[in-house]
Subunit: 147 residues, 2 copies
């Protein structure tokens, strides 16, 4: 990570160098945990899944129904729920318990780190919710100005 002096005017140059240093320049690495986690939280279901899992331990089908209740859109596809849960499990945010073979009986719950992530997510939800009206007003103004 080199900052070429001539490309930027002070004081931006110094700020940029500092940012580069203390962001550890994970920046936009494909497999960077920061980007991966943010991408997960920003996708269609993961944030909601985390909030529901924060309530307790769920079986797959129940969790799926719970999500349907919370969503004003269509239910999550079974495959997708499995996919999202697996991704969360892989990163150590969720544990998966199997208790029964046929029929399978699988349950999911948050790990300690998963609880923390759910809380962080909740912070973001609350922050945006608190500004939701402001944002929607800004959008209306912007859209109107565009004709």
């Amino acid at each position: 990570m080199e900052i070429d002096p001539q490309d930027f005017a002070e004081p931006l140059r110094a700020g940029l160098a500092a940012l580069a240093a203390d962001m550890a320049v994970h920046g936009t690495r494909r497999d960077d945990p920061t980007r991966e986690v943010m991408a997960m939280l920003g996708d269609r279901w993961t944030m909601l899944i985390l909030q529901v899992l924060a309530i307790g331990t769920w079986r797959h089908a129940e969790l799926r129904r719970a999500l349907s209740r919370l969503s004003s859109e269509k239910a999550i596809a079974q495959k997708v729920l499995t996919m999202k849960l697996r991704a969360l499990e892989r990163d150590g945010f969720v544990t998966r318990h199997v208790t029964g073979d046929v029929p399978p009986r699988v349950s999911y719950e948050l790990t300690g780190m998963g609880c923390q992530l759910a809380e962080e997510g909740r912070r973001m939800i609350d922050w945006v919710n608190a500004r939701g009206a402001t944002i929607e007003e800004a959008r209306r103004t912007f859209d109107r100005a565009e004709d």
Copy 2:
């Protein structure tokens, strides 16, 4: 948002009802500010753009170069940068100043709300960075267990 009593066992039912209530069930509405903002932060560039804009005021081309420096991947496409900035402007996180017609001279800076968003984003970055090693270790363990 109705929670059907027979679909869920206590105490999950109660928790779900409570969550439904105080999340205001923006849940997964397509144009819900919460989901839109989270999706923005989770996309490939917006988080990085916010962190760079937190440094100061940038012209388009300089901002673009700054992002290239911070990213280990290819530079952001001009069109994409314009798109991302416009989205941020629309929601009231960024202001756009035009000072000159030909050649155009355009600069961008964060609004007050934009600064707050950048800080919230920074919290998330720091949180994940602090756990990056744990997460990557969890991934290795998981991947190894899968054969």
